[in-house]
Symmetry: C2
Subunit: 293 residues, 2 copies
């Protein structure tokens, strides 16, 4: 399996990598072209550019000066934080970026060009599959403090979604409350799934002395559904629960969350009698964790 992936890597870096770079950088150094592209039509902070492209600050500064000198970008002070600077594309810069866009299209066409119609369709379908799965494998799941910005973003999205999907809306006040401290060691933990640095999913665990641990706040962003991310978050929570000595986990859920319900069943959860009085719950599930060797 590994050898297949390697074959793919070789071919793809040759075909896509080289082509991409070659098309992107016509006349202009590749570094400048990439930067111009990354700034985007709406502009960016210099800081985010530095972290996204992973550049030395001196080097980035110089690249910006050269783009500025060519009249492609304008750098201004950020209003709220005087240390930050904002880069925006000028009209000429936008035109240049549109040209890069056109070239990218051309590169794509150069790949499709030599193929027959049927081959093109198969290629595009297979590319879509590879792309989806590569994206899935790029998602990073790791613990975060429930107070962290990313955790906050997830929770907001989670509650927003409940409000939209439950038959009669969702009022956090009526639901049983879980304090931040209960989703943080040593009482529990909070996992955030991130893609390209943006939070796209979460899940929490609350340990209860002498009782099964509870799984809470399971959420996956609409944008990345179907990548098996929910299952991964769930598996990660279970693994961490097991490592904490937990033998049984349980959770409750609302009847409108059908995909979640079937995911729980597929993951080996069985429905049990209500073990709490959560007013928004219709189903209660439980799973016995296998004790790792």
């Amino acid at each position: 399996m590994v050898s297949h992936v390697r074959r793919f890597n070789r071919t793809v870096t040759q075909r896509i990598g080289a082509l991409h770079d070659h098309f992107l950088a016509r006349g202009r150094p590749l570094g400048q072209a990439r930067l111009l592209w990354e700034i985007g039509p709406g502009g960016s902070d210099v800081r985010t550019l530095r972290s996204r492209l992973d550049l030395d600050s001196g080097y980035l500064s110089r690249l910006l000066r050269s783009l500025e000198h060519d009249g492609l970008v304008a750098v201004t002070q950020n209003g709220s934080d005087g240390r930050l600077r904002v880069v925006r594309l000028t009209a000429a810069g936008l035109a240049e970026r549109a040209e890069l866009d056109r070239r990218s299209d051309e590169a794509a066409r150069a790949i499709l060009g030599p193929l027959t119609g049927a081959q093109r369709e198969r290629l595009v379908a297979a590319m879509a599959e590879v792309e989806r799965l590569l994206v899935a494998s790029m998602v990073d799941i790791s613990p975060a403090d429930p107070r962290h910005v990313d955790a906050r973003t997830c929770l907001r999205a989670y509650f927003g979604e409940l409000a939209g999907r439950f038959d009669h809306g969702f009022d956090p006040e009526r639901s049983s409350h879980v304090a931040d401290a209960e989703m943080r060691p040593p009482s529990g933990l909070f996992l955030v799934a991130a893609l390209y640095g943006e939070p796209v999913g979460c899940g929490a665990l609350r340990f209860r002395d002498g009782e099964p641990a509870e799984i809470k706040r399971m959420w996956v962003s609409e944008a990345v559904r179907g990548l098996g991310l929910g299952r991964r978050v769930l598996a990660e929570l279970e693994a961490r629960a097991r490592a904490h000595g937990v033998r049984v986990v349980r959770l409750e859920t609302n009847r409108s969350l059908t995909e979640a319900i079937s995911m729980y069943r597929a993951a080996g959860y069985r429905e049990v009698a209500p073990f709490n009085a959560e007013p928004y719950a219709h189903h209660w599930f439980e799973k016995e964790l296998e004790t790792g060797s």
Copy 2:
């Protein structure tokens, strides 16, 4: 369709490209690492390295000097042709390459790691498909002189294959001869299909005054069968014949070349009565070319 390819390009250059380069170049400049890899365990001619990596001869020479200086390669004269030089990895070079190998494996595993078993299988299958089709689209078909090394290589392989597949072998002396000059403008032309700078297929055209043009020497290397390359060579020959004012093309073939025969049929050729006395032929085909607009 183009936008799908572009999405793919973006994801893949991020995930594979960056990973690949990073893993490959440890401490050593990327150019050197790539070269070290490309030399391979069995060694290579400097010439083939130059064409495969598409490097300037001066630059390549310098890269070799630095690898030699580090004790990783040894450059010696080629026995048969005193102009060529052969590069071989030393023990240290082989060890270094094994390390790169290990790293590539690691990179592949890092991609598969986060996925479930079913996802891995789908990913590997889709990667194989993408890879095959990208390889197909990398093949370059262009005219060459029949005396050129690549053309020679193709013709040797072609005759070798005929000898292996025909029921009673193949003796070029008995077959009707086609002079090099007849497969070169203005009397005809010779196309070579190349992949990574290596010839992998060919096809020739012989113009005949007042008669249909003849298609000759159609061959596709075993290594790249199933990529639709035969069809592309044929289409290219037809297009060039048409551009030359030819209205009808024809060809003869042996009954043991079954894939070729079905390809001709699929491409719109119909079987006709023998139009020559080629002793090895069992089928004669003809096709009327559509006059381009």
